[in-house]
Every structure is written in C-alpha cells, then in structure tokens.
Symmetry: D3
Subunit: 324 residues, 6 copies
Amino acid sequence: MAEQPELRSLKEGDLFAGFLLAQEALFKTSAKGSEYLELKLADASGDLRGFLWDLRAIEGDMDLVVADAFVRVKGQVSLYNGRTQLRLDKVRFAADEEIGDFSRFFPTSRRPREAMQAELDQLVAGIGDPWIRRLLEMLFVEDPLLRAAFAKAPAAKSLHHVCLGGLMEHTLSVAAMADRACAHYQEMNRDLVLAGVLLHDLGKTAELAYQRSFTYSDAGNLLGHIAMEADWISQAVAQIPDFPEQLRLMILHIVLSHHGRLEYGSPVLPKTPEALLVHYLDDLDGKLEAMFRAIREDAGQGSWTPFSRTLERMFYKPRWPAIP
Amino acid sequence: MAEQPELRSLKEGDLFAGFLLAQEALFKTSAKGSEYLELKLADASGDLRGFLWDLRAIEGDMDLVVADAFVRVKGQVSLYNGRTQLRLDKVRFAADEEIGDFSRFFPTSRRPREAMQAELDQLVAGIGDPWIRRLLEMLFVEDPLLRAAFAKAPAAKSLHHVCLGGLMEHTLSVAAMADRACAHYQEMNRDLVLAGVLLHDLGKTAELAYQRSFTYSDAGNLLGHIAMEADWISQAVAQIPDFPEQLRLMILHIVLSHHGRLEYGSPVLPKTPEALLVHYLDDLDGKLEAMFRAIREDAGQGSWTPFSRTLERMFYKPRWPAIP
Amino acid sequence: MAEQPELRSLKEGDLFAGFLLAQEALFKTSAKGSEYLELKLADASGDLRGFLWDLRAIEGDMDLVVADAFVRVKGQVSLYNGRTQLRLDKVRFAADEEIGDFSRFFPTSRRPREAMQAELDQLVAGIGDPWIRRLLEMLFVEDPLLRAAFAKAPAAKSLHHVCLGGLMEHTLSVAAMADRACAHYQEMNRDLVLAGVLLHDLGKTAELAYQRSFTYSDAGNLLGHIAMEADWISQAVAQIPDFPEQLRLMILHIVLSHHGRLEYGSPVLPKTPEALLVHYLDDLDGKLEAMFRAIREDAGQGSWTPFSRTLERMFYKPRWPAIP
Amino acid sequence: MAEQPELRSLKEGDLFAGFLLAQEALFKTSAKGSEYLELKLADASGDLRGFLWDLRAIEGDMDLVVADAFVRVKGQVSLYNGRTQLRLDKVRFAADEEIGDFSRFFPTSRRPREAMQAELDQLVAGIGDPWIRRLLEMLFVEDPLLRAAFAKAPAAKSLHHVCLGGLMEHTLSVAAMADRACAHYQEMNRDLVLAGVLLHDLGKTAELAYQRSFTYSDAGNLLGHIAMEADWISQAVAQIPDFPEQLRLMILHIVLSHHGRLEYGSPVLPKTPEALLVHYLDDLDGKLEAMFRAIREDAGQGSWTPFSRTLERMFYKPRWPAIP
Amino acid sequence: MAEQPELRSLKEGDLFAGFLLAQEALFKTSAKGSEYLELKLADASGDLRGFLWDLRAIEGDMDLVVADAFVRVKGQVSLYNGRTQLRLDKVRFAADEEIGDFSRFFPTSRRPREAMQAELDQLVAGIGDPWIRRLLEMLFVEDPLLRAAFAKAPAAKSLHHVCLGGLMEHTLSVAAMADRACAHYQEMNRDLVLAGVLLHDLGKTAELAYQRSFTYSDAGNLLGHIAMEADWISQAVAQIPDFPEQLRLMILHIVLSHHGRLEYGSPVLPKTPEALLVHYLDDLDGKLEAMFRAIREDAGQGSWTPFSRTLERMFYKPRWPAIP
Amino acid sequence: MAEQPELRSLKEGDLFAGFLLAQEALFKTSAKGSEYLELKLADASGDLRGFLWDLRAIEGDMDLVVADAFVRVKGQVSLYNGRTQLRLDKVRFAADEEIGDFSRFFPTSRRPREAMQAELDQLVAGIGDPWIRRLLEMLFVEDPLLRAAFAKAPAAKSLHHVCLGGLMEHTLSVAAMADRACAHYQEMNRDLVLAGVLLHDLGKTAELAYQRSFTYSDAGNLLGHIAMEADWISQAVAQIPDFPEQLRLMILHIVLSHHGRLEYGSPVLPKTPEALLVHYLDDLDGKLEAMFRAIREDAGQGSWTPFSRTLERMFYKPRWPAIP
C-alpha cells in the first residue's frame, strides 16, 4: 500500500486519495428523493465523515460497500461546524489483499511494541519462583501465537486502552504499579502478584475480535475472557511435572476473582491478599487511563468532559496548577 | 463395625453402645464450677445431644474428643422437652480404622445408588450425537474416580439434596424433567440439553468435602465448582480428536451460565435456548426439593415451616386435598 | 373489505392499493421547506414505511391522518437499503366501518384459534377436583365475553407472544409443560397447578388494549393484571356455595405470587410448591418464546441477534447441529 | 375475672396471684440435672420473667402449659439486675372461658376507642362526594364485624402502633395529616385522599392475627393485606348501582400503590397526586411513631436508642430544648 | 431593552423582532449541500424553533452565534405540525449589555417575588428560639448577596420548580406544610423543623448556575449543595458566641440527612424526628409539583402524560370529579 | 499506677492484682439461684473473662461496677477450653484518677508514635505547592489539639487499624503508597494527592470516641467524619488570604468523594484523577490491613479465617511459599 496522509493531518481544501476503513456505511435518501452515501472513514490516526452525493460515482459492486469493509476513496476536505469531512468524488470496495498491514487502520498504543515486549520479557525473566516463571515462560515466551496475540490485542472494547497493543500496555502499567505496591506491602508474594497481573486479562486475546473493529468474538460472548484464560493456565500447568497444586489454586484464584465482585463477572471474591491487590490495581489502572484520556482528548469548552456512561459521571478537566 | 441401633429408632430408657460421629464437642462449665462434656452425636439416621457429667469417665486421650471425630459412647436415652438425648456413662475417641464405612454416619439419598447409576448410564448411552456421547462417556463411565465421586457427593452444603448421593439424585431429577421439556419445546437440541444437565454440577465432587461433614474444600472456596468442571470438560474435549469447536463452546456456555445471573456466580448469562432451559430446571429442582423436604420434615404445629434463610420465606404446609 | 396482497409478499415495482393501519404518521419538513408525510403502515403480515411527497394528494380531512388510524393508500413498492417501502400517490383516512375485521391488521398466533379453544376446553373438562373445575368453567366456558377476550388477547405488550391469540397460546404452552412437570414431581396437586396456570394471566384481557395497537389500558396501568384477575377469581368463588376457603387462598396465592419477586410486581412470594412451579414455568415459557422468535426472525448476518433490552443480552443464533 | 394488679405496678417483695398470658414457656434443665420452668408472663401493662424451680408445683396437666396459653400463677416479686421477676409457687393452665376479655393481656392504644370511633364516623360523614361516602359507610359503618375488627386490630406486627386499636389510631393520624395537606395542596381531591387513607390498611384486620399474639394469619401470609382490602372494596363497589368506573379505579389505585415501591409489596407505583400523597403520609406516620416511641421508651443511658432493624439506624434521644 | 411580544403569544403570520436567548444553535447542511442555521430561541414565556435558510443574512461575527448567547432576530411566525416556528430574515449576536434584565429570558415562578420574600421574612421573624432565629437572620436577612441569590435561584436543574424563584417557592411550600405537620405531631420542635426546611436547599444558590441556562456550576458538580450549605451554616454558627453545640449538630444533621438515603447523596440517614419530617416533606413537595405540572402542561390526547424519567412512570391525567 | 503484668503474659496458676478495663459487666444467676459476676477484662495486650462467685467480695459500691468502668481486681488464672480466665477473689470500682494513662488499656499501633509523627511532619514539609503546604501546616502542625488527636485516634471502630494511633498508621501507609503511585502515574499532581490522603480521614478524630471503648461520638453519628473534616478544611482555608478557589474545590472534592460511591457515604463521586486515586488507595489499604491481620491472628486450625462480615468472605490463610 502506497503512502497516504493521516486523516488527523488533513486541513480544509486538501485533496485525499487512499484506502480507509469504512466503520459505518449508510445509504440515505434526501428529501428530494435522491440517494446518497454517508461513510464513517477511519485510519489509525482518527476518523471523519465522508459524503458521496452521486451514487453513480461508486466503482464496481455497490453491495460490497458495507460497514467494516475497506474502501478506496478520492475527495476533498471541507469544514463543517469546526470538524473536517470529506466530499467524495470516487468510492470503491478494496479487497483485503490490497491493504497489507491492517494495523494502519486502527489506533495503536502510544508505547512502541518492541519496548513493551522487552519489558514483558524482563518481567518474566525476573520472577524468582521457578514454578511461576516456568508457567509464564510457557505462555508469554514459548507459545508464538499467544505471544503475538498478546502484543496486538486491545485491552477492552470501549472502556480503556482501546487500541492495538492496548492489552500489553495496560498489563505492563498494572505490573509496574504492582511492583511498587509489593515494595510497600512487604508481606505480599511479589512473584505471585506479578503472575496474577500478567495473566489476568490474557483471555482477551480470544475474547476480543479486532480484525476490522473492536468487538467480542463468539467465544468471548459465550465464555468470557476469565473462563478462557483459566482454561489455558490449567492446561499449561498440566504440562509442568509436579507443579504444586496449592500454587495452581492460588494463581487461578487471582485470575478468577480479579473483577472483584460477582456482579462484575468474577465467579469468586478475592480471598487472598495477592488477589485483592491485583483486583484493585487492575481496576484503578483502567479507570485512570479512561479518565486521563477523556480529559486529554476533549476539545470542547467548559470544565467538564462529556458524560462517561462507563463511569457514570463527567470528569473535571482543569488541572492544578493550570497547564499553560 | 458391629451392628448398632439407628439413632432415630431410640426410645426413652433404651441403652445404647456404639460408634457415632461427634459433629460438635464442647467442654462446658456449670455454675457450680464443675466441668462437663456436651456432644452432638450423629449417624446416618439423625442426631441427638449427649451429656457426660463426669469427665473422668472419658477413656484415653481427652484432647482427641473434638468436633468431626468419631467416638465410641455408652449411655441411656432420656427425654427432654419431647426430644431424646443421651446421658453418657462412657466416651472414648475412635480411630477411623475402627469405623469402616463412613457412609453409615451421613444421611444418604432415598434412591438406591445402583438404580441411579443404571439410570445415568442409560441416559449417556441414549445420547444420539456421537461427539456429546463420547464426552459424557469419558467423564461419567470411563473415569472410575470421577464416576465414584459423582455417585457419592452431596448436591449442596446446606440448600438441597444435602446427603450422600444427593448430587446424582438431583442431576437425574433435572435430567428427567429436561427430557419432558424437550418433548414439549421441540426446537431444543435434547442431546445438548442433557449434556448440560449432566455436567452442570459435576465440579461439586471437588467443591464439596464430605469425609466428616458437608463443607467446602479449599479448591471449592478458591475456584468454585463452575470453574472446576469447565476445566475438566475442556481437558476431556482436548482428548477427543476433531471435536467441533462450536459444540465445545455451546456445552461450556451451558455450564458457565447455569446459575443464570452474574451475582449468583455465573460469569456469563444464558444466551442459547438450551442454556436458558438448563438454568431454569436446575434452579426449580433445587428449590422444590428444599420446599418439599421442609414441609415433610417439619414436625411443628401451625401452618408454616420455619423461615428458610435460603429462600427468604416460610412455606405453607397444608396440602390440598388435606392429607389424612 | 376486498382482497389485497399481504405486505410481506410485496416486491420491488409492485403496485399496491388497499387499507392499512397507520402505526405512525409524521408530517415532516424537508430542507427545502416543503412538507411531506411519512407513515409506518402495517397489516397482520408485517409493516413498512410509506412516503407521500406531495401533501395535496391527501384526500379528505388531512387532520384525520394520525397514528393508530386506518388509511387507504395507493402507491408503488421501491427498495431502500434492502428493505421495501412505498412511494405513495394517494392517501385517505378510512373509517372503522370500512375495515371490517381488525384482526387483519395485527399479527396473529401461529396456532389456529379453534384448536387452541378446544385444547383449553379439554383441559378444563379434565380437572378432577370438582371445586376447581367449577371455578374454571365459570370463567373460561360460561362467561362468553371473557371467553372471547381470552381467545383474542396478546400475552404481552412487547415481551413475548405479542399477537392476537398470544395469551391463549402462551397459557396452553405453560399448561402442557405443567402437565409434564406434575407427572415428574408427583407430590404436586396437578389440578391446583393447572388452575394456577390457566388463571395466572387472565387479567391481561383487561390490562392490555389491542384495538389498534398493543398497549396498556387505563385499568391496566392503574391496577395491573394481577389485581384484576384476583378480583375476578374472588367474585367467581363468591358465587360457588361452600367453596373451601383454604382452596380459595391457595388459588389466589398462586395468581398473586406468579411473578416470583416483589420487584417484578407480585405482592407476595411463592410459598407453596404449586405456586413456585407456576412461576418458573410461566417465566421460562415467555423467555424461551422471545429467544426462539428473535433467533428465527433475525435476518441479519453474524452469530448474534440484536440486543434484547428485556433480557439484557444478545442471543446466539447458530444451532447444533447446523440447520442446513 | 377478678381484679388483679398490673404487672407494671409490681415492686420487690409484692405477692401476686392472678391470670397471665404465657408468651413463652420453656422447660429447662439445670447443671445439677433438675428441671425447672421459665415463663415469659404478660398482661396489657407489660411483661416479666417467672421461674418455677419445682415442677411438682404445677397443677393439672403439665402439657397444657405452653406458649400462647393463659396460666394462673402465684408467687413473689424479686429483683434481678434491676428488673422485676416472679419466683413462682404455683402454676396451672387456665381455659379461655376463665379469662373473659382478652384485651386485658395486650397493650392497647393510648387513645380511647370511643373517641377514635367517633372521630372516624365524623370523617366518613363529612365526605362530600356521595359515591365515596356511600362506599365508606358500607365498610366502616354498616358492616358490624368489619367495624369491630377495625377498632381492635393493631397496625402492624412489630413495626409501629403494635397494640389493640393501633390500626385505627394510625389511620386517624394519617387522616388528620392528610386533611392538613389537602388544605395546603389545593389541587388535591380531599374526599379521594381521605378514602385512600381510611381504606389503605383495612385488610390488616384479616392479615394480622391477634388473639394471643401479634402475628400473621394464613390469609395474611398467602395474600397480604393489600390484595384482601382491594377485594373487599371491589365487592362493596359492586353493590353500589352505577358507581363510576373511573372513581373505582382511582380508589383501588391508591390502595394498591400505597407502599410506594414494587419491592415493598405494591404491585403498581403511585401515578396520581392523591396516591402519592397517601403513600408519603402513611409511611411518615408509621416511621415517626416508631421513632418517637423508641425515644420515649428507652430507659438506657447514652444518647442513642438501640439499633432499629426496621429503619436500619439508631435514633438520637436528646431533644431540643432539653426536656427537664 | 424595548418592549417585544412574548413568544407564547405569537400566532401564525405575526412578525417578530427582538432579543431572544439562543438555547441551542446548530449549523446544519441540507441534502443539497447548502448550509442553514437552526436555533432554539427562548424568552421567559416559552421557546420555539427558528430557521435561517440563508447564512449571509447573519450580521456581524457568525462565530458568536452559539448556544447560550443572546441574539437579536427578525422574522415571521409559521405553523408546523401545530407548533409555531420562526422563519428568520435576520440574526445577529447581542452583547449582554444590550439585554438588561436577564430574567426576561427564563421561566419565572408563578408567585411574585415580593410576596415570597415577605413570607420568608415573617417565617424567620416568627421563630421563637433565639439561637435558631439568629442563625436564620444572618443567612436570610443580613447577607444581601445570599438573600438575593435565594430569591432568584431555581430549585432544581430539571426535576421540579425549574424557574427563577423556584427555590424560594419550593422552600416556602415545604415550610407551610411543615408548619401544619408540627401542629399535628406536637412532639416536634417547630423551630428546629423550620430551620431545617429553610436551610435544606440553600446551597443550590451556588450549586446551580442560571445565568444563561439551568445547569450545575463547577462547585456544584465537585461538592454538591449539601456540602456547601453545611459549610455556610457552620461558618455562620461560628460567628454567634456561645451557640449551643448540640443545637448546631441537630441543625447540620437535618441538612446533611435530608435526601433520606445514602444513595441519594446524603452522607447520613435521618436520625431525629425533625430530620425525618423534613426529608419526607421536601421529597413529597418536589414530586407533587412535578406531577401536577406534568398533568397541567400536557396538551396531548389520552389519559397519560409522557414517561417521567425522574419518577420512572407516566402520570394519570384525568381528575375526579372531571374538570369541565 | 504501679507496674502490673500484661494479660497476654498470664499463665495458669498465676496470681494477678491490678487495674483493668471492664469492657462488659454482667450479674448473672445460677440455676441454684445464687448470683455471680462475670466480667470481660482488658488491658492493651488483650482481654479475658473473670468470674466472681461470691458477690459479697465486691468492695465499695456494687452499682459502680458496670461496663466501660475501670476496676481493681485480684484473683488467680485458670485454664478453660485452652483459654485463660480469672477466678476473682476481690473486685472494686476504680476512679479515673487512679488509672493515669488510659492508653495502657487499649491496643496500640505497632509503629511508635514518635516515628510516625516525624514521618508525617516530613511529608508536610516536603509539599512543594505553597498553598497546599500552608493548609496542611495549619491543621497538622500548628493546631496542637488536632495534632495530638490525630496521633491518638483509631482509624475505624471495627474494620481496620482498630487501635490507638491507628488513624496515623493508616494515613501514613496510604501516603507512602500514594507517593509510589504518583511516581508511576506521572500526570498526577503529587501535592494534591498527598493533601487528599492526609486529610481524608481527619474527621475521625471527632467521629470516633475512644476514651473507654472504640465507638462513635454523637457528632460522628449525626454528621459523619466526611462532613466534619470538610468543615475544618473550609475554615482553615478561610484564614489563608487569597487561597485559590479552584484549589479549595479540588481538595474538598477529594475529601468528599473518597468513599467512592454514594451508598458508602460520599455525597459526590470522584471526578478528578487525584480523587479517584485517593479513593482506591484508601480502600485497598484498609481491606489489606484487615485481611493480613485476620490471617496473622487466627490461631484456629484449617485453611480459612472466620467469616469477615465486613468483607463478606473468609480469607485463605496458607501463604506461598509456606511460612515455616
């Protein structure tokens, strides 16, 4: 795929030609009875609306221009209520093969993947307990498919770290906080805590589908990520001869209980200090990321972000001392 | 262990000598300052209180006479407020080896184990779908330890079917109702429903400990029976070559969702007709058993059973037409 | 009313002339400032949108063209985003007298009314307990208005069995399941259970209005169907000399408690086995019908139905084994 | 029954002989092995504990001395931890015929019954709306059994106004407040509000049993007072020719909705101003009475009453300005 | 500002020129690609939609025409679906200085401000307890800014008494009811109750912003009105030498607990009779006002108002006897 | 007060004479009719039961021997069911003046007060923001009464850190964790977070009474610690000229919202990152302390602590790797 400008960089009057992901595709009818096409177009840098007023300008099969398909478009940038949009001259369906690396069409973690991967490997290598280290190596180092998936998956569908690499970014952030917490609460077993942190959302690599949009897979909807990762851990443990049963229970307990409450999808409550700690730090990290991002990204006037349905509140944007 | 009368059959004035399970053992002090021993003694037919007024009559090591130990006692039956009790002359600790079959000291299902086992085997053999039948055979027929445990476990700690064999009795009752329901709701996949019914509480064989009392095992408290049975199913499926992934998801989904609500410990809600049906029939059977038993066993006057904390209500005892 | 094609059978290009129910009627203004009329038009087979771009084509009094009125329309079928719609040439209000049988404009139960009525009569006739049978005869056989209303009413406004005859269809389905359940749980009083089933939603004949749309009547909103049917039962019982008071209480108890929880509108919890059973089977039947219907009717791609706000989940559409 | 001193008036050393209600009767065994009888004895003025150390002093059939029976006792008052108790010399069962007026053994409203009855009659006579007045006359004036029951019943089992006449006292208090509220909120229909107030707890005459203790009747447990009074109102209205249907709905709506929330046992929410007002004033009156009584009756030190399980809080006892 | 007609008085064909508050201002694009301006325009009497089809008719800086700004408009009234709207010929931004009294653009309490102010002063002057009267004088009489703010503030953002002066209107209504309630419940300390009533929503003068629209201020969102008024009371009390500590606690307790439940934002539950009374009367008054207003203002057909999201129900509009 | 052995150090047969706090004092009667006195006696090291079988051995006024009084006792240690108790020979009331330092009778924080005080002073001195430092100095350094109270108060009545100095210990633990968290989440304003941490429970110095037992003061019950500390902060800020209003709001917001949910007593939800962080770290620290303490102090057999009613679960006691 040839070079093309990022959507975020477009300014009024710019011409644009390139591939984009059609997150929405709606054929609408105007009051005059004429039909037009409205698209929500996205690349990794952002998204905007595109309008094609004359449907005859669609090349090829019109029925292929649907939500979650890639399209090739040509048009000019205009400004509407302060937001950029595209007045399109041409639209055509684009096969996956033309696209190459899908990741150019999704938001991606601000941290480079290599740096995160190295940090993860170091964490695993630094585990002192041989049983725990062995288990983590099997899942995070020696299984190439899982290793790749863990590096690519988002952390959630809509709540926090909704980007490629978001799962790893979130996991590493919780791990770093957990490291500090274990230095403070010295009765904690740091190896056990880190195992819980690294494993707690591993199942999201299969719960979330993110080929063309961030959504739940069938397995994700039917089983949930907690059941899936518990299964994987159990199968990995079964391949480690003489793995201590008590340790197996403790690790699985952290994973199963990390949502903290039954009504949030954990079948058991945290009953060990390590499980309680992992639950709090995971929850805190996700909510803080959502809050900081909402504050950072809100371009609107006034002191408050839009209402967050997840956290059921607006956030206060001003910082002290004021950021110049 | 020699023959001894059942506790339920004892009458005022009877002499009793034999082994009993001490469910409680309390050393108390009287206002005069003398110490005595109060025991809650049980066999499979029921329980009563025993009093030893002179601690010097304890043979052997007094510190071994604790809750959940077996004891050998000798004494005479008296009546107190209409209930039988034992005035003890002798008490001594009894080692497990003296006892033989522990099941003589627990309530046991009213249905004979052999009849239930045969009914279960027939159910499995009658499954038409080869994949499902294979999975059930592995777990219920070919694994001798699991087969034995399933035949012996209670269905719950305190709610319903609290007796040896209770898990199998409950499971078969739900299966028979499920069979009738599938005849009525003909869009149901009967094989899938029956698989869900047979598997839904299998993990209770490891969740509940019942060597000396009905309680939760460590694994039960840390993981819960749903996570354990999901693990076992997953491992069994992994040994069946080419087991269809979609079917695996559907079966695991029924098991994971069978408590019906997140706050009742299911990490996902029932999302298929089969999962919804298994949830309702399981819930109904347990509650009905608890209600019928409470009505049957309540010897008190008045129209109402004692308040059931589980169901948060009293039950109305009179039946229509009146039972003569 | 003359013959006219069913809406469901229309194809692009077809001409249509006939009577339809206007479920919605909105006068809208286009950006050009011209006004047009958008209708949601329905018959028993389905519904579609109709557009009249020139309001002068309305015959007669324009103010009569409102939601829940019948209209006579003429126009041609077009296709928009894969759905049929009507481009209208003529619209006029139609008085009720022109319409004849309203039921042609509502969805109707898939089971023929006569078959259902016969099944109901047989159920009543088969009740062994003379008091219960007498009560049911008074309400379901001898009261012609109630008998007719019961045969016609929907079972709910939007949840399940939302069609003419839906109440009877739902009631008979629960009754058939109850019959099977009583064969399994032999301590149940089958006559009492069936009385509870037949009576449990009788008040919906007055709670729901369904002359032009399915909605709540004033009495339905102010009292609810449970209070209304309890009133009717009480008045019928009062006319049966020497009706046993205990039986009256037991029947009313099933009816009052059948929603199972106070927060679902039952003023008392089920406290007899019969009441518990009726609650579960009623709840199960409604939810299963909603789930099966959603799966059957969803024409969309993907494995999941749209989110059901009633059950707060999506349903998984694939069946095992796959339906060819 | 001859005169006998009130329990509340007894002082240490007094001799007592008379009839009392045995609210509890327990045969206990002492550490020495001797049996004794412990009674909770009550008359309308209060209760105390009685002890009979020698069971041979029981006259007649010992098995008749049970909870909720009347007994004739003889003994002497002693003081224990600042509370009076009775050391008994004689105890015998007393048949109901010996007792005469049971009300001497229950707490009774502080307001004289005649004054309350007159106030009620005046309220009914003062209703301007002829339909409403007619309905109230039928239930409160012309039905002698209901009139008597309404004058005698308690308002609740344990929450507030737990005394003979408590229902009428509570009803009149709410009515007086409602009168004031209608003077303030002039859009209210005062007649309708008063009808709602007078009728809202009428069913408690049958919900609560209070022959020997305050408890729920079978009908009360199975149907609840709301369903019972709705039934009675409906049957009374049926006997008034041409009673306006809308008014019937409005009155029944107030009664059915007066608990204010579904989870408190109302099958519908208040949807008219009159229904909303009755709900608030009823709720307020009950809670205030419970709070004032708890403050008044608490003899303990400190600023706080014992924890009220009903209101889930302690109450602050000091009053401003301080009561000397 | 010159005289101009009230929006409510406009009829089809009228010409209008004057200042209005733009509650919404949206630049939209038509299907033809032309842009137009849609405004929601308001004065104290009501609001309507205005459309400017040619943006060149905007005088001065177009970017100043935003929501919550004042505008000067010229246009003609037309009718659309039975509602008036303005087809605009001219629109320009208007600076605050041109406007004068902002209150002409907000709904205002039906009660005249002077009458309410006099009633409030009389209430304060009539307080018998010198400590309480002193406190109320400091806040309601001697602090001119607070006195003015209290007279002007609305009682809520959207629930009830949403108009200038609404806070005072609501407060006085509760006070009048409280006066009647204290006459009925004679154990109440009337002075304490009235203090609680007058102070309970005082913080809304700072919680709600109402310069251009009714919304929450930053302080309101961050602290809430309860914390703010508690702070003010505490600071006022600190300036009254020897103010009794117990009285301070009692007054603050009423204010802190007046929402009645923790989940409604009160950090403590009402634990004195006075606090319980204030909570009930405040809650009742707000809900009744909302209900009466919804019934009064609903011009629609049918017996029911639109669904109230606040009260989670529709209200029944018919009154008994019918209002002619 | 002279030296006396700690209760925890007593062994069977020891003689004891000294002052103790009577946490409970009950006069009981034995079956023989003789009265005796049972005391729960405590010093800072623990508590045990004491029995005085002959009431004539009480010196001085018997009515002064009540719960929460100090007593001087003499007796001998015996063993009962493995627990020590005191068989008393003499008991007399002891006036407060005899006792001297009350803290000898309460559990005390494991951390020395001086070390904690120094750490606190250092934290305050290290605050970079001059406004925040000034505020903290006023409250924690310059107000000698508050400084002393903060050093002495417990952190809670029964949940966690229930000991003298517990409030400071808990506060410093949260502050140390907050320091680490701010190093990780670098967008946080560390000074603001630390201000929130130090202030969040300051009001507990007045909410909790701990002269003779840990309980709530009247002010604590009526206002709660959140309202009290918000008041103090507000009054301190009022004395700092030109304190920025926005900073005042942000600090008060952290304090008001730190319980995290309305139903836990916070009148507002956390709406800034700093407020969210303080809530999580406070909650985590309290729960972890409770869990670690329960595990540490449980002397019982088995893997599980007793059920914690606060956290609604048992805790798993085994640690990994096993503590030898």
